[in-house]
Symmetry: C2
Subunit: 257 residues, 2 copies
DNA sequence: CGCTTTATTGATCCTCATCAAGGCGGGTGG
DNA sequence: CCACCCGCCTTGATGAGGATCAATAAAGCG
């Protein structure tokens, strides 16, 4: 195969559009991941990347639009949303500073869904044509791209199992732990962080209603697992939180028996 | 990117293993898709393919095993199962005659989960190394491979939305309609077919318990949507079955108060 | 044929959705 | 600057949709 994703045909630009009922705010003063924090950005950034600002509520890209670029979130946060024919919509992920967006176009020539900024954000736009060209000459970049693709698919599968086999409290615990782990991977605190999304958006990701999310957060707090005030979360007892779930990670290797 | 999936390193063969409590049977007399029926097999088959028989309950491949080959189901049926750390297991799909197996290794060098024969089956094994080599010279094959990959990802996403936003009756209706459509695409009847899997396996795919699946099938029958006798299904009112999906949203506008 | 697996159906329980009523906070306009 | 408004969150009450438990029936398999 020549390319892992698709040969992008440069055509129309994707204009950010404000969805009805949402207004952008002004200041962008989000924390930026510390230097040297892990992540794919280092390799990716070596390809010419253009900076782009997306304000709260604006689309970074829309489902069905030509796949032209990957994006590294430099500051802020996004959600990706899948749209169905019958008007159903489902959040498929949240993407924080340091993470990559656009991989949902894998295997297609268009983005699978919308990417919407949860707050005023800042991304590096990496034209895929250039990336692909460069990757052809640099095995390390090639491998990195491939690794990212794999983990995106892995992420979706984990979500599938979560939705298919976990109870509400397990889902939320898994969500919090996942967020914590990702924050840590980006150099932020694993124990204290701010939710960038609403309860409803969390619910959409987890297949729950917003009231259920709210109630469970309250319950986790009274049980001493977390502290929650509005969108600020502090994890107080990570082991207990883990114990809420019967682990969710997908098994990579199997025991011979 | 050089290959869309991974450079397979020919190493250990994947031995079929009988899971505890299941025993293989003998006869293979499944229907074979009629000549000329749609499907990727035609292109794929041009690569040297070896025939392999897998008996009911046996593994075609196991999760974590080296990705070495794709498989086209020639006769019979399979389920693919994802396994988690804590022993949770979830069916991720059913695969009938004419369909391709092994694509779950996308983005990785190992299969994501187990592929288990639901009945005595027959597959064409297509070593990926050879396939990849040939695809490099044949753009048509290249495109076909890519298309298959894309639809596999699409399939998983659809399942995600189903699990995240549909109610039990909608899930089952969607499942039956999907099966019907796939049977038709393979040249079988869209209205009458045989379920190759248990109620429990259907439930696992849909995030439901087996009793719920059974009850809903019974209800669909009394409502005249289908006829069901054991594993034989006849769809009696496909439009009504389609209408089951999304019934909830309509209900919303019903009661002004 | 006997045994095991699978399916149906009923009764009951419980999780989570739904409906409803404030409360908090941030942003905005007077 | 204050009052108001609107989006977001919390919390309660209620009930429905599925899960669970249980008993039986029917098939499939050896």
């Amino acid at each position: 195969m020549q390319h892992a994703i698709h040969m992008p045909v440069p055509s129309r630009a994707i204009a950010p559009v404000l969805p009805a009922g949402m207004k952008g705010t002004s200041s962008v003063e989000r924390a930026v991941p510390p230097e040297g924090a892990g992540g794919p950005d280092l390799l990716l950034m070596r390809v010419s990347a253009q900076r782009r600002r997306v304000r709260r509520g604006e689309y970074l890209y829309r489902g069905g639009a030509d796949f032209q670029a990957l994006y590294v979130v430099r500051a802020g946060a996004f959600k990706t949303v899948l749209l169905t024919e019958d008007g159903r919509e489902q959040v498929t992920g949240f993407h924080m500073a340091g993470e990559v967006l656009g991989l949902d176009a894998i295997g297609s020539d268009v983005y699978a869904g919308d990417a919407v900024a949860l707050e005023d954000s800042d991304v590096a736009e990496i034209p895929f044509a250039a990336l692909e060209e460069r990757a052809a000459r640099e095995p390390a970049l090639q491998r990195e791209l491939w690794r990212m693709l794999a983990s995106e698919i892995q992420r979706e599968r984990t979500l599938m199992v979560l939705l298919g086999s976990m109870r509400a409290e397990e889902r939320l615990a898994a969500f919090l732990l996942n967020l914590s782990q990702r924050m840590a991977a980006r150099g932020f605190s694993a124990n204290r962080f701010v939710l960038r999304m609403t309860r409803e958006e969390i619910g959409s990701l987890l297949g729950l209603k917003l009231e259920t999310v709210s109630r469970l957060l309250s319950r986790f707090q009274t049980e001493g697992l977390i502290m929650v005030r509005h969108r600020e979360i502090e994890i107080k007892a990570i082991q207990a939180l883990r114990a809420v779930i019967g682990r969710v990670e997908l098994r990579r290797e199997r025991l011979p028996h």
